[in-house]
């Protein structure tokens, strides 16, 4: 049997599904076989993975058709990452969700992302530090979410739950393919100077927002971070603000808390999102002046407060941009409607139900951000050259 770690779904005209499966290649470790081999100038390199595809009228049929050109039976019980092309995302991912719900081997804990770019090129690219690209991609998604929080939570179960909840729309991770190598191009780069020159194949950046099961637009990193602040899903984020003393201060941010309050007055609903942020100074960028002020001095409370206020302003801007874009696209990724559904079911049933899109576009949202600059790393004051 063979166990694909990545399944990628695409749709061809006229509505035929393509599924690309990426399999780890255990024979590469012993340099046996030629599966996934790149050959140029007489030098053959056996890759530790192989990508093969199948087509069918449904995702299930397409997956089964992969076996027509694979020497082993597929077992889908170890699929870690699910990729969906932008084309399929915009057409509707309902068939893919059905496939995952019904198949006894597939699991809803798989991470799912929408790919912007050539998906096949992505699946045929190497991850320089990873023998198994599927695991490498999985690690990237988890790492970026934990360290930068600029992508949404990624498990398929989470998306299915959100799709079934009233008053909230899902956002999927966005993966941008960076390189689309021509045939043999990667091999030429490897063979020209005798050593491989690895380049990143993809970038994990922002999110794809959906209206139910159809994608309607992209959110960039700042907008996605704004959404995560409101949802309370930020574990770590990076923000660089101007220092009142000149130069830049880089802060590492953590979510201290968040809350959504609402007021319902007749047909008017107002939301207030309160976000608490803990910040730590991680870097300071300022031209040093011998004998002058330190680039960062934690004893100057006015400067500390100013930096905190500027950070709060930047976060507020990110959130407001995200809200504006969400209103423009007509997708409530923040779950404001779901808050009304859960806390005020009578209001939801009598006034809002079926019309949340209208209410959302006219929704008044106040953002209150409080940044608490707590730590300065392992040094307090910047050094002053003498």
């Amino acid at each position: 049997m063979t166990y694909p770690s990545v399944l990628a779904f695409d749709i061809e005209d006229p509505g035929e599904f393509t599924v690309i499966a990426q399999f780890p290649n255990p024979t590469a470790a012993t340099s046996q076989g030629s599966v996934g081999t790149l050959a140029s100038g007489g030098t053959a390199v056996t890759l530790p993975f192989w990508a093969n595809s199948g087509r069918g009228a449904s995702p299930f049929a397409a997956v089964k058709n992969i076996e027509l050109t694979t020497s082993r039976q597929l077992s889908l019980s170890h699929v870690d990452v699910v990729l969906i092309s932008e084309k399929l995302a915009r057409a509707g991912i309902g068939p893919v969700l059905e496939f995952f719900l019904r198949h006894p081997e597939l699991r809803l804990i798989s991470e799912v992302a929408v790919v912007q770019g050539d998906m096949r090129a992505l699946l045929e690219s190497e991850f320089p530090l990873e023998p198994n690209p599927g695991l490498g991609l999985l690690g990237m998604l988890e790492y970026v979410r934990n360290q930068q929080s600029q992508i949404p939570r990624g498990q398929l179960l989470d998306k299915l739950r959100i799709i079934s909840f009233p008053g909230i729309d899902p956002a999927f991770i966005r993966v941008i393919v960076l390189q689309t190598p021509e045939a043999g191009q990667q091999a030429e780069q490897r063979s020209t100077d005798g050593t491989p020159i690895p380049k990143p194949a993809l970038k994990v950046h922002g999110s794809a927002v959906f209206d139910d099961d159809k994608m309607v637009g992209w959110f960039d990193a700042a907008e996605s971070l704004g959404v995560n602040w409101v949802l309370g899903h930020v574990s770590r984020a990076v923000l660089t603000v101007e220092s009142p003393q000149g130069g830049l201060v880089s802060l590492e941010l953590k979510q201290g808390g968040c809350g959504i309050r609402y007021t319902v007055s007749g047909n008017s609903i107002t939301m207030t999102a309160t976000i608490e942020v803990l910040a730590r100074v991680q870097d300071v960028v300022k031209e040093s002046v011998p004998g002058g002020h330190p680039a960062f001095d934690p004893e100057d409370t006015a400067v500390i407060q100013s930096i905190a206020d500027r950070a709060a302003e930047a976060i507020r801007n990110d959130i407001e941009h995200a809200i504006a874009k969400a209103k423009q696209l007509g997708v409530d990724v923040f779950g404001f409607g779901n808050t009304i559904y859960r806390k005020e079911p009578q209001v939801w049933n009598e006034i809002v139900k079926g019309r949340w899109d209208e209410f959302f576009k006219a929704l008044d949202v106040n953002i209150e951000v409080e940044v608490n600059l707590r730590r300065t790393g392992l040094t307090a004051r910047s050094i002053i050259p003498r």
Binding site: R107, Q155, L157, R161, K343, P345, Q346
Partner: protein, 355 residues
């Protein structure tokens, strides 16, 4: 033994059977079911302890007369056959649907029938000792799996709480309360106990414990899958456990749920088969029930295989009002009549003593 047999229902299908109208309030339905089950135990075991040396086969004839008593007993046997047949078929459908799709269903069902028949033939003592071994393992599996399921919990799934009132909650309890007809086995088992008159308290306690387990499972399933997904799942508890993914190291915890259910099925089907054979032997005035084990096991196997076309028809029948009516007419109404007859007889004895 009661705990493991009752909890097996919640592992199997309870959330799906209750969530249809209760949706996110399935946990409330489970609480109602727990209380209702206690009443059922009091109804059945409460009368049984008053005839500590007689099974329901004997005292039903004593209270209502031989023809009517026998008719009631035949109704009990039909219900017990239904329960044991549905149980085996349901578990076989899980095994085949999730793990071994190419295995013929008669093989799975036949294996369960043979195992239960062997246990039944060896006697109630053997079943009890087996239960003594399996119940701790069952409990341990549930105790490990259930908290892990909460790792994927989303409290939004449980809201809004009771927004539609109690009507959907109450209407979704019919099927599960009807499944409480399984406690009918107490009517035959009480005379087998070492101290029959002391059965009631442990029976009520284990029923409450099973009810609490069901409620926690319902909360976990709704919280993990959400009301819509949980309602459409065929085996919601196991589907919810498939969502466990703790630091990417702890996965595939549904194995614990499946194993626990397997233990519960073994004990449950053995007990039900034993009760069937015992009650039939008493009805036929036979000295020993063992010669009936083979024939009744065969009838059980045929019933399991032939009574339902597929899993969906099995679930559909149990979700329909027909099932609740069937159990009410064959179990609860007869027991109500037995209580009335017992009450009248007690009054007559009391009157006689007064004179």
């Amino acid at each position: 033994m009661l705990f493991i047999t009752r909890s097996s229902i919640s592992i199997a299908t309870l959330p799906a059977l209750t969530m249809g109208s209760a949706a996110q309030d399935a946990w409330a339905a489970s609480l109602v079911i727990a209380l209702g089950s206690v009443l059922i135990v009091l109804l059945i075991a409460g009368l049984g302890i008053r005839f500590e040396d007689k099974s329901v086969v004997r005292f039903s004839q004593e209270l209502l007369g031989k023809p009517f008593g026998m008719a009631i007993t035949i109704g009990f046997l039909i219900v017990l056959l239904h329960f044991v047949g549905a149980e085996a078929r349901l578990y076989a459908e899980l095994i085949i649907g999730s793990f071994v799709p190419d295995t013929p269903i008669p093989f799975i069902v036949g294996s369960m029938v043979i195992l239960a028949a062997i246990a039944c033939y060896l006697g109630v003592e053997t079943i009890g000792r087996t239960s003594d071994v399996l119940v701790p393992l069952f409990t341990l599996a549930i105790l490990i799996a259930l908290p892990m399921g909460f790792s994927a919990f989303d409290s939004r799934s449980l809201e809004p709480v009771l927004a539609r009132g109690l009507k959907p909650v109450l209407s979704s309890t019919a099927t599960s309360l009807a499944l409480g007809g399984k406690y009918l086995s107490l009517g035959v088992l009480i005379p087998q106990a070492t101290k029959p008159t002391r059965i009631l308290l442990p029976a009520v306690a284990t029923t409450l414990l099973a009810g609490i387990t069901q409620t926690l499972i319902a909360v976990m399933v709704v919280g993990v899958l959400g009301p819509d997904l949980g309602n459409s799942s065929v085996f919601p508890f196991l589907s919810a456990l498939r969502a466990v993914n703790i630091i990417r190291l702890i996965q595939r915890v549904e194995a614990l749920g499946t194993i626990a259910w397997g233990f519960a099925i073994l004990v449950d089907t053995s007990v039900l088969l034993y009760v069937l054979c015992r009650a039939t032997s008493e009805l036929m005035d036979l000295q020993d029930y063992r010669p009936l084990v083979g024939p009744i096991a065969t009838v059980w196997f045929v019933y399991s295989m032939q009574s339902y076309d597929n899993l969906l028809s099995l679930l559909h029948f149990h979700e329909s009002p027909a099932f609740a009516v069937f159990v009410t007419v064959t179990v609860f109404v007869p027991y109500a009549l037995l209580w009335i007859a017992y009450g009248i007889r007690t009054l007559k004895v009391f009157e006689k003593r007064r004179r």
